[in-house]
């Protein structure tokens, strides 16, 4: 929330001494409000005034960093409730949970399974970014540390899910440089846990039996000066977890309740134990509604494919359409003699068209033009998908050198380009494809 010039003036020293370079404190305050100068240009603002100002101008939700080196990732920092208002900035991260109650073979299998999901989708690496390591008191402290050690080298950010201070300390000792999340503060142990987290320089995760206890513990931790926090959505029921995630986010963004303004952890593994499909549904629910980290029992390709696609969609900039890399996409085992189709680089167009082409089973070369990431008609209207741009693109990419087939299908919506393309690209037979992607299967099959 931006402070107004007048609010700053109220806090100013009102000496009008001009040392800041402005004629009056009022003028200076106005410039600070516009962001034109820094408050530090005046040597006389009291520390209290500066603190009050930084509090008032602080973002509603804290930006929290976890992990180290190339595994460092950013959570929170959101400024809105709905993506059409402004981009959601820091995507949901996913974790798979393991427990010190599991034997080595189970843990190894789980780690292998989660590491198996690792692929790229429109320039983004899709993988399970975190491992949640749950402490089982029955199998003891040593076993916990052993398990933490075992998974620490897997290139994933760890969440140390342990509310026992001594055990947590021992576990931190073996992995703190990798900046795990110490997920173990509660209403009873928060002072000791906070000390531990602060000393190790790691983020502290906070639990509460209900929203009130959670809120009070967060407030108490803030009072201790620890604002490097994340909170756990209540695990008593799906309903309670959803209520915490939504209500805290709303309170932070809409009501400037800063104590609620931390990233959230939602443990769907606890909420739907043993029911992998319900967990899949909840992974999706908490991606749409305000989970910063979501923990599940397993994330295989079945859960991941829709989930990561959904996340990529939801966290995209509403002003900037998603683009795919221009070039030749060979579909259904196409080779240089297979028929060519061309369209724009708008990600949605690409996905819909390539999906239909795959469904047809017909080998074909899909040639994606550089059209500014716009849809067919929009890019055509903007002159970014024209006969000249297509001809130029074919030349630059040396399509004729790479593909021998000279049949090129163009989207039905730009059928007008046919004549111009035939003139500009001699030797090519230009075929007008259907207007809608769903008709492509029939179109390709009929042509064969």
């Amino acid at each position: 929330m931006a402070l107004k010039g007048l609010d700053i003036f109220k806090l100013s020293p009102k000496k009008n001494c001009k040392e800041c370079g402005s004629p009056t404190c009022m003028a200076f305050s106005m410039k600070v409000a516009q962001g034109a100068v820094s408050i530090d240009a005046c040597p006389y603002f009291s520390e209290d005034a500066k603190a009050a100002m930084s509090e008032a101008t602080a973002p509603p939700m804290k930006t929290i960093k976890v992990g180290a080196g190339e595994n460092e990732m950013v959570l929170g920092g959101e400024t809105v409730l709905f993506r059409h208002e402004k981009t959601f900035v820091n995507k949901t991260r996913y974790a798979v949970d393991i427990c010190s109650c599991m034997d080595d073979a189970t843990i190894e299998a789980k780690v292998a399974e989660l590491k198996h999901v690792d692929y790229e989708r429109i320039g983004e690496r899709m993988y399970v970014e975190m491992i949640d390591v749950e402490y089982d008191p029955a199998s003891g402290a040593d076993r916990y540390v052993e398990v933490v050690k075992k998974v620490a080298g897997e290139g994933r950010v760890l969440i140390l899910d342990c509310q026992d201070v001594e055990v947590a300390k021992a576990a931190l000792d073996v992995c703190k440089d990798a900046k795990p999340v110490l997920n173990g503060a509660n209403a009873q142990n928060y002072e000791a846990m906070s000390k531990l987290a602060t000393e190790a320089g790691v983020v502290l995760g906070v639990y509460g039996a209900d929203e009130n206890e959670l809120f009070d513990t967060l407030a108490a931790l803030e009072k201790l000066g620890n604002k490097n926090l994340v909170f756990n959505a209540c695990t008593s029921s799906v309903k309670a977890a959803f209520a915490t995630a939504v209500q805290f986010r709303k309170a932070a963004i809409k009501d400037s309740n800063r104590t609620c303004g931390y990233p959230s952890i939602v443990n769907v593994s606890k909420l739907a134990k043993g029911d992998s499909h319900l967990q899949a549904a909840l992974l999706s629910l908490f991606t749409v509604k305000y989970g910063s980290i979501v923990i599940a029992e397993k994330i295989s390709y079945a859960e991941a494919l829709p989930l990561y696609g959904l996340r990529q969609n939801v966290f995209t900039d509403p002003q900037k359409p998603m683009k795919v890399e221009p070039g030749i996409y060979r579909i259904n085992g196409a080779d240089e003699n297979s028929i060519c189709l061309t369209t724009v680089d708008f990600a949605l167009t690409y996905f819909v068209v390539s999906g239909e082409l795959e469904r047809s089973g017909v080998p074909c070369n899909l040639i994606i033009n550089d059209a500014g990431g716009l849809s067919v008609l929009t890019s055509w209207a903007a002159g970014k998908f024209s006969s000249s741009s297509i001809a130029k693109f074919f030349q630059e990419q040396d399509i004729e050198g790479k593909i021998k087939c000279r049949k090129l299908c163009i989207p039905g919506k730009v059928a007008v380009l046919k004549g111009e393309l035939e003139a500009k690209m001699p030797g090519w037979e230009i075929i007008v494809a259907p207007r809608e992607a769903v008709q492509l299967v029939k179109f390709l099959k009929d042509m064969q």
Partner: protein, 313 residues
């Protein structure tokens, strides 16, 4: 100091709409809060889950769905079986075979199916068209007639055929008119206005405001629904207060994540699990964004989503 949240209850609410008749009738909408925000105010009518069968019968179903209909010889058998699956609130008969660019089945043949199914099950019925606007006008007119008095949903009228569908389904036979637009709040609003100007009761309109499988331009679905719910509840825009119904199955069972076999994509693993999770995750996102009803295909998806809804409301 306990946590105090400001209530997000609105003075406006979503229209209530009854589908079907008798004991199995269901009510959509009525809430004055955002989806599943029961902490702001109670949600009386939880979102509903429908199961889809098609005129193609068992043969047209994905391999992994077939086993659930074992022993079914006709579409009527399938409908009866579908009605017994856990979590099913209503039945959608998807007449995709009517498409002139596809199988082009005659309307009479499709209507015969509709009639037989409706006589065999007492669940509320949705008739999902073939997407060809001319053919759909014909199908919905005839289906509305044979389903007279059943409070069925005709899914859906579009900008190109709303006059025909509105007149037959809405005016002549008092069925529920589905209004379909593609991911654009203004188009959704315009279609509702046009239908009501035609004389269709605003309270018997249900919207399909666009849908996509998760990952396939889903951001438009979320933002369109977010905006529509904000307009309906926060701004009290009566032309957008209709409940939303979202066909999920027809989107998710055609994409590669669901149809690629294990031989095609060995690293992706079990095909059935992929199909279910794609359907379930898309449906969960739809419901979180504002759908009052979703239409699914796989019985496990239906049971799962129904369970999620019960846990949230």
């Amino acid at each position: 100091m306990p946590f105090t949240a400001k209530s997000g209850k609105f003075s406006a609410s979503i229209n209530t709409l009854t589908m079907g008749t008798g004991e199995k009738a269901i009510v959509l909408g009525g809430e004055n809060v955002l989806p599943f925000y029961t902490f702001d105010a109670p949600i009386e009518n939880a979102p509903k889950v429908g199961i889809e069968i098609t005129d193609g019968g068992l043969e047209a179903e994905p391999e992994c769905v077939k086993k659930y209909y074992e022993g079914c010889e006709t579409i009527v058998d399938m409908a009866k079986k579908a009605a017994t699956f856990e979590g099913v609130d209503f039945l959608s008969i998807h007449l995709e075979g009517g498409d002139p660019n596809g199988e082009n089945k005659p309307t009479e043949e499709l209507i015969k199916i509709v009639k037989e199914v409706a006589e065999a099950v007492d669940l509320p019925i949705v008739i999902s068209g073939c997407k060809n606007v001319e053919k759909d006008s014909e199908i919905f007119a005839k289906a509305s007639e044979v389903l007279s008095g059943k409070n069925a949903v005709m899914l859906a009228a579009k900008e190109e055929n709303y006059k025909n569908v509105g007149a037959s389904a809405g005016l002549a036979y008092k069925q529920i008119v589905g209004a379909e637009s593609a991911d654009d709040i203004n188009l959704a609003k315009q279609l509702n206005v046009l239908l009501t100007q035609l004389g269709v009761d605003a309270k018997s309109i249900v919207m399909n405001v666009g849908t996509a499988a998760a990952g396939y331009g889903y951001e438009y679905v979320v933002s369109t629904m977010d905006r529509i719910k904000a307009a309906a509840l926060q701004q009290g825009d009566a032309t957008l207060q209709m409940p939303i119904i979202t066909p999920v199955a027809s989107e998710t069972w055609g994409i590669k994540e669901s149809i690629a076999t294990e031989e095609d994509m060995p690293e992706w693993g079990d095909q059935e699990a992929r199909g279910i999770d794609m359907e379930v995750e898309t449906a969960a996102a739809d419901l979180a964004s504002g759908s009052n009803a979703v239409i699914l295909k796989h019985p496990v998806s239906v049971a799962t989503i129904s369970k999620m809804i019960k846990a949230l409301v």
